[in-house]
């Protein structure tokens, strides 16, 4: 780290965890699994491309829990959630909209018009479904953002 690492102290790791757990519509679990596999296998994997563009996510994965009745999005990302949420929605809204078709309790406006048109409602929904960690959040490198580990990729111009 530069000599002035203490110039702008932030007490917590620069990384934050998100554990988003959403109820799957009854009986839709298998279709959701196929859809996620389909999106991930698409040419140029749109999820990977989007995350590369945003450049603040260290790790991300989808997990189906409890006999495919819950969809979990588990990620570790940099900075406050709200800071880059609009940049996220810009590049991820099509993926989100595809997957949220299978989620049981999405706000009506979001389900109807898409997350991009009702950003605040979507953010509220995410906050409400983010399961907090218990105890402490460990990081092996609390000072390092994605941008410091790998140079940001060229943005997708939208």
């Amino acid at each position: 780290m530069p000599d002035n690492a203490s110039a702008n102290p932030r007490p917590e790791p620069v990384q934050r965890p998100l554990t988003l757990v959403m109820p799957v519509k009854p009986g839709e679990g298998e279709k959701l699994r196929q859809k996620i596999e389909e999106v991930a296998a698409a040419p140029g994997n749109p999820i990977e491309t989007a995350l590369n563009t945003v450049g603040t996510v260290h790790f991300a994965r989808f997990v189906l829990l409890e006999n495919d009745t819950r969809l979990a999005v588990i990620t570790t990302y940099d900075n406050d959630f709200d800071t880059y949420v609009n940049d996220f929605i810009d590049v991820m809204h099509k993926v989100f909209n595809t997957l949220l078709q299978f989620v049981a309790d999405v706000p009506e406006s979001v389900a109807r018009d898409g997350v991009e048109a009702h950003r605040e409602e979507f953010v509220k929904y995410v906050h409400a479904h983010d399961v907090p960690y218990v105890g402490s959040f460990y990081s092996a490198y609390p000072e390092l953002s994605v941008a410091q580990i790998v140079p940001p990729k060229a943005p997708v111009l939208t």
């Binding site: 780290m1 702008n8 945003v54 940099d78 810009d90 940001p152």
Partner: protein, 472 residues
């Protein structure tokens, strides 16, 4: 209404008569300004004042819109003065807006600049407790009435007339007047655009879609035209599906803007000393350090286009034709430091965290205050810049740029570094330089200190009429 007819492009044209002039025009011919900080004293009196200010007439000053000058007041000429108005959240109750309406403003505007000082790096010596008294707690500041004059006499004329109107209506109490002017002269003429640090300023401004070329100020850049909604409420933004509507009803919000009003003191003595210390002692060495801090040579030529000299052969209309990626790529900052001022304030197409280096645009309207600085005779006088950062979302644009790009470096892999020119560098900061082997400018002191701030709502003309006609 301008921009209609065959020439209208795909972007919907803006109603220039409905937008305050300061938002869309750079007021290039205005050489001095006075910001009157007002507290509304009498609701009826202020509404009467507002009614006069929104009526175009030949007798008294009125709010300048973005419409073309020609018909008013002198054909083909520039007006002798301009007048614009902004309100703090604290003004909304004395204006008579009901609670339910006030609650429709964005949270950052409701909280105001003092409460959110930490979000824009206004800590330590920049903290509100050190600001000028009139801006320290927003409670008493309601209105910033900004007057611009093409010369000192024109400014005095409009200030005298406006103050007479305020007194006649017993509308408001003047807390303070903040004066600004372009301070440096050459051949007896004011050198517009040169700030106390010696740089040409205000060169980079977004090009707005739907605004006719007669209004557009600034030098063309290679980025896409920016949708109106980044600066005017109620229009589509760069982001899919996102519109910043501002307050409701729409006649109050639509075509309005928000502004971060700032007074930034500039320590030119410290700046001069730093250039002396860090350079090789030659004038070229001093100018090179100045260019590395800013990303432009002091004459305005971008370092990325001309890394070795101030580029006397590069035409002014080319000074924004770079984006660090496709035009004049510089991924490592070998030509222009990634942490320099212009690459922080506007990273353009350089990849940054969030991927939105071109999505956090601001319109900058600043003018220097205080006497000219004489390098051979330092005087200890206060001098700096006073003006506004205009946008549709203070949170997504002004606050984001100040917090993530100016006051931190993580967005570009620069660690917890700050803007070398305008950042709150206490303890001293540093600027990594590109190239091989990598070097850095160290021991950067704080050159700029915040002396005050306020979050302002700049209503449309429709909204000003709405406010003047309120009955509550």
């Amino acid at each position: 209404m301008s921009g209609d007819g065959a020439a209208a492009a795909a972007a919907p044209a803006v109603d220039l008569d409905d937008v305050q002039g300061l938002v869309l025009r750079g007021y290039r011919h205005m050489l001095c300004a006075r910001h009157l900080l007002l507290r509304i004293d009498r609701r009826d009196g202020f509404r009467a004042l507002l009614s006069e200010l929104i009526t175009e007439n030949l007798e008294s000053p009125y709010i300048t819109t973005a419409a073309d000058w020609e018909p008013k007041p002198l054909p083909g000429d520039h007006p002798p003065h301009c007048v614009n108005i902004g309100f703090t959240y604290s003004a909304l109750r004395p204006l008579g807006l009901p609670d339910a309406t006030r609650a429709t403003f964005p949270i950052e505007f409701i909280e105001g600049a003092v409460a959110r000082a930490q979000d824009v790096g206004d800590t330590g010596a920049n903290a509100p407790e050190h600001w000028i008294a009139e801006l320290r707690g927003d409670a008493d500041l309601h209105v910033v009435l900004s007057l611009y004059g093409r010369d000192a006499a024109a400014l005095e004329d409009v200030a005298r007339d406006v103050r007479a109107q305020i007194v006649r209506h017993a509308a408001a109490h003047e807390l303070r007047a903040l004066d600004a002017h372009w301070p440096y002269e050459r051949d007896g003429k004011a050198r517009e655009g040169v700030v106390h640090f010696g740089y040409q300023d205000g060169l980079s401004q977004p090009t707005l879609a739907g605004v006719p070329p007669t209004v557009k100020a600034g030098i063309r850049d290679p980025l896409e035209d920016v949708p109106l909604g980044e600066f005017l409420l109620g229009h589509p933004t760069q982001r899919p599906g996102l519109v910043h509507h501002g307050p409701t009803p729409p006649e109050l919000g639509h075509n309005g803007s928000f502004a971060g009003f700032r007074i930034a003191e500039q320590d030119v003595g410290a700046f001069d000393r730093y250039l002396d210390e860090l350079s090789d002692g030659t004038e070229h060495g001093r100018e090179l350090v100045a260019a590395q801090l800013c990303g432009r040579w002091r004459n305005g030529v971008p370092l990325v286009m001309s890394p070795d000299s101030d580029g006397p052969d590069i035409d002014r209309d080319q000074w924004n034709m770079f984006d660090f990626a496709t035009r004049h790529p510089d991924p490592t900052g070998a030509l222009c430091p990634v942490g320099s001022h212009v690459r922080r304030a506007n990273p353009r197409r350089h990849p940054v965290a969030g991927g939105g280096g071109h999505k956090r645009r601001l319109i900058r309207r600043g003018m220097p205050y205080g006497p000219p600085h004489d390098r051979s005779a330092p005087d200890g006088e206060e001098r700096g810049l006073v003006g506004m950062f205009i946008c549709a979302s203070l949170k997504e644009q002004f606050e984001f740029v100040m917090r993530e790009w100016i006051d931190d470096g993580g967005f570009a892999g620069l660690g917890r570094t700050r803007d070398p020119l305008t950042g709150n560098n206490d303890p001293p900061g540093e600027l990594p330089l590109g190239g091989d082997p990598p070097r850095r400018l160290t021991g950067l002191p704080r050159f700029v200190t915040t002396r005050g701030g306020a979050y302002l709502f700049l209503p449309s003309m429709t909204a000003l009429r709405y406010l003047a006609r309120l009955k509550t």
